[in-house]
Structure formats: C-alpha cells, structure tokens
Symmetry: C2
Subunit: 154 residues, 2 copies
C-alpha cells in the first residue's frame, strides 16, 4: 500500500506540473487559422459578401487606413460592400505567418494583400500592402476574425 | 491494492481532463500587457529610444503605413529614429482593449495614437490613428512586442 500511495503521489505531481501550462495546442490551431484565412481570402476574391462575413465575429473591429476604426458586423458589411463595388475590382491576400497560443483559442495571421480597380478616370489602380489579423476559436471550433489592421506599402 | 489502483486511476482521469484546457491565465496576462503597452508609450513620449527598443522582440515585424513591412530590431530602430527626429515631435498612444490567451503567453493590444510635428514649412501637423499590436511573454516573464500594424484615421 505504501508503495502504491507513493506511485500515485508521484503521478499526481507530474500531472499537476504538466497542467500548469496545459497541453500545447498551438500547432493545430495555427494550421486551422492558416486554412481559415486562406478560405476567407477566397471569399473576397470571388466577391462573396455573405461568405466573407461568415468568417467575421459579430463584434469584430477593423482598422481601415485613412478612416476611423469600425466595430460590429453592420459597419464591416458596409466597408466591404464599398470595396466590392469598386469598378473592375480584383483582390485577395495570403498569410505569410500564423502564430497561435498554446491554449489554442487565440491566434494571429499576418501577410500581404493586392487589390486592383479602375479609378474615376478609368485608370487601373493597384494597391499592395500588408495586414495583421487576430482570430478567436468559436465554441463550434470554427475560427472567426476579431480584429484586423492593414495598410499600403507605398 | 485493487481499491487503491481504482482511486489512482480516477485521480489521473480527472487531472487529465483538467489538463485539456489548462488553467486560465488570461486575466493576469492581459493586465501585464496593458501595463507594458502603457509603459512602452511613455518611452516614445519621452523620446527614449533605448527604452522603446527594450519592449521590442529582436525579430519583431512592424507595418508602418505607406512603407514596406520592417522585420528585425535594426530596421525598427531606424524607423523610430526617423519619427523621433521629426521637428517638434510630441506623440504617444494608449490601449483601449487588451486580450490574452488562456495559456497566458500571447496577447494583443489595440488602441489609439496621436502624434504632432512641424512639417518642412514649419506648419504643425497632427496625425491621429489606431494600432494593433501582438505581444509575447518572454522566458523572464516580461512581455515584448512581436508584431504591430498602425494607420491614420484620415
């Protein structure tokens, strides 16, 4: 009995030590966010507004350049409708780095975007830049964007 | 012995279940990042370049508006030296939201900045905007910025 108690006590100490930081879920979470961000970029490329919004938390905040921050899905819908209405729009983005927390519910994605459209004179305008997004895992294990900032390279 | 084995087995199952998500360190981590971001803002306000850089990871990436991304402390030093050399510079920022992962090693901070300086004609220019930063806890439990994006409101 004494030896068994000792073995049990050792097992508990080892497991409690392991609990302090929890299991490392970062690799799986980062892969899931990479997939989500890539799929999200495709919704924009095909001008799928409903698909785009399905990746955005209802209380998300966006930081468009040269405009105030926008919080909430209604404002974000308006922002994206504005982009999608640009004449001759083509645009998408791709992640270059995704990092998730060990606990696996919070992650960021950063990468580059490119967007082209025709301005009011009909001239083709191309905007290239970079973005930083924060994603949170939902109760159903899907991921949604909770905040984003982006700006141009020039 | 049989009963002891049973008790030990139950204890192991309970602890393993608890380990799945780990303890929630998010509140303490968010408070620490709020303090770090606020202290970092003060280094910029007092034009303390060494103090500013002490909060930045050596491999951090910054996304300044209308310029390419900058990765690494040498490039970031150059960027900040450029800001600090602006005639009559005053500037700082303050967090409005900080969110940390349950695991307590990754967090983001978002808030607003204001910066004023004299342009080449001597006219006072004020730039107000917003930022999104990601912070990572270091082995010594201090926090450092690992990536940031910011842009103007106008």
């Amino acid at each position: 009995m004494a030896r068994m108690r000792g073995a049990a006590a050792i097992a508990l100490v080892v497991l409690t030590g392991g609990c302090r930081s929890g299991r490392d879920h970062s690799a799986g979470a980062a892969a899931a966010v990479w997939s989500a961000d890539s799929a999200w970029a495709q919704t924009f490329a095909r001008k799928d507004l409903a698909g785009y919004l399905s990746f955005v938390d209802s209380n998300a905040t966006m930081h468009p350049p040269n405009a105030p921050a926008i919080t909430g899905i209604a404002g974000i819908r308006g922002l994206i409708e504005g982009f999608l209405a640009l004449p001759g729009l083509t645009g998408t983005w791709q992640p270059t780095t995704v990092v998730a927390a060990r606990s696996g519910e919070l992650a960021y994605s950063t990468g580059t975007y490119e967007m082209s459209y025709n301005d009011s004179t009909g001239a083709r305008v191309t905007d290239r830049g970079k973005y930083l997004e924060v994603w949170r895992r939902q109760p159903d294990r899907s991921w949604k964007l909770i905040t984003e900032s982006f700006n141009a390279d020039r």
